[in-house]
Structures are given as structure tokens and as C-alpha cells.
Symmetry: C2
Subunit: 149 residues, 2 copies
Amino acid sequence: MDTDWLSEDEEQAWRAFRRLLVALPARIGRDLARDSGLSAADYEVLSTLSEKPDRRWPLKELAAKMEWSRSRLSHHAARMQGRGLIDKEPDPQDARGCLLHLTDDGFAVLEQAAPHHVVSVRSRFLEHVSADELAMLRRLSTRIADLPD
Amino acid sequence: MDTDWLSEDEEQAWRAFRRLLVALPARIGRDLARDSGLSAADYEVLSTLSEKPDRRWPLKELAAKMEWSRSRLSHHAARMQGRGLIDKEPDPQDARGCLLHLTDDGFAVLEQAAPHHVVSVRSRFLEHVSADELAMLRRLSTRIADLPD
DNA sequence: TACATTTCGTTGACATGTCATCAAGACCTC
DNA sequence: GAGGTCTTGATGACATGTCAACGAAATGTA
């Protein structure tokens, strides 16, 4: 195999895939902003927080779960706090840390947003992918995302 | 089918795919910055400009080709001009417009960057995808990216 | 205990993208 | 060719992300 360049097939596939990499998140993000006033990042924070019964996560752990830097989450959480979607509380286990807490308002916004978001993911993506393709895509995505950084 | 939520399979596949959507461009972008001091956006501009024999494109057309806004390309081109990678020239066909021109320096940077970038795309992506998977991914990507916005 | 090291979240400087707006020029219609 | 309208690229305000540096608190080690 020529390792110095891409074959025609590889080139075309890589081009097509890059288009998808850009277009799909952009479309779903626009839907989310239009339907619920949330960015994709907002939605990810809210939905991850809502997974815990008490709606609280240490910032460090939430950042790790979402694969965000602590800096990014700190900045983003400050903005979301300003909008009343989340709270910050001192961490009783570690005086350096803080807990991010999904407020009732934030939970209500998430509950309103979720069904629209599902419709968006379906209509922009899932509806156009067969079960076989989806299974393949999942295996492939996991395989590649799990490679070392 | 329940249109109100995602099945377990759909949920898992969507999660895995979203991880890929974030991780793959980030890794390839980091490789590019490390090997050549270019961002993915820089590389896209340089390589698209290099496709024309005279290395010139009207800004409007380049933006359309890359599916960028004119504003984004204008900002980005100004920064790349500051680094000497490209020039701006008046468009002889349209006094409102301008031509973006790949400089010799820009071309040299692209020539240096390209083989490293190919290695990166191979090692982070293509090597881990079979020919069948790649063909399926290409069809799927084209199908979805071609949907209306 | 004392001291060095590590970890936590915050902060500020900066890079990059979006959006609305603008002046200049092209285009259209009469 | 005159006047209104659209298009082009630039610009400024703003949102969001990265990176390096920091103070405070936890942890490890003598």
C-alpha cells in the first residue's frame, strides 16, 4: 500500500466523512438552539447532571465523564449558573472542589428540550441509517475513539 | 417504533458516534498543529487553494466550496495573510470581490504538511477501518450530509 | 509535625467562530 | 442612464474554547 498518499477510494470516503463530521453536529446544534435555547454543550451538561439521583456531580468528575478540561467546564458552568440552569455548591468531601447541581429550572429546561432533541437526532441521522449500518457505525466508532490519544 | 425516545441500541450507537465526532478531529488537529503549525482550518484553506492551477480563488467561491460563511473566511484569511500563507488580490472580474492567492511560502508549508497529515489520517482512522466499512461509511456520510439543512 | 508535591477550580490572555451591519460595487428594470 | 435592490467582503460585538499561571487545599514524606 502507498503510505504516502490516499487512494481515490480513501480520499473520497475521507472527504465525505469530514463533511458529515461538520454538518451533522451543526444541524443538530441549530435545532437545539431554536427549540430550546440551549447549545449542544449546555445540553450535554444538563443531561449528564440529570443522570445522578441527587443531580450533583463534583466538577472534576463531570469534566472527566464528558471528556472536557476542568477549565472548559469551569467557564461553561459559570455561564450556565448565570442563566440559572445550574448551581455551584462547596464539596463536603474536599474543600478545594465544588459540586455542580442541576437546578429545578435547569431540569425543567432539559425536560422540555429532550423530546425535541430526540426528534432532531432521529430526523437528521437515525432515520437515514439502517440497523446494520448503525451496528457497524457503533463498532467502528468505539474502536477508533478508544485508540490512545 | 417509539418516536419519543431512543432504543438502547440507538442510544449506545449515538453515544459512541458522538465520541468519535469529537475525538477524531481533535486528534488529527493536534497532529497537524504539532507537525506543521497549522490548524485544520488553515490546512483546508491551503489545500483547497492549491487545487487551482493558478492557486487563486474568489473568496466567495472558496467559501462556498468549503461550506464556510464569507465572514468566517474573511476573518481567517486575514489571519493567514498576516502569517504570509496567502495573499489578497483585487478581482479583475468584480471590483467588490477579492481573490485569495496561495503564496509560495504557503505552498511550501502545505507541501511540508501534507505527508505528515496523511500519516495522521491513516494512523488515527483509515488503518482501523476495513474496505467494506469504509465504503459503507462513505455512502452513509454522503446520504446524511446531502440532506437539506 | 513540617515541608514539598500534587490536585482542584478559577482566572486572564488569546484564538476562533457567529451574527448583524455596513460601504462599495454590480445588476435590473424602467 | 437613473434609481432601487442585491451581492461582496470587512468589521465589531459577542460566545466559546485553549493554554498557562495561580491560590488554596489535600496528600506524601521526612
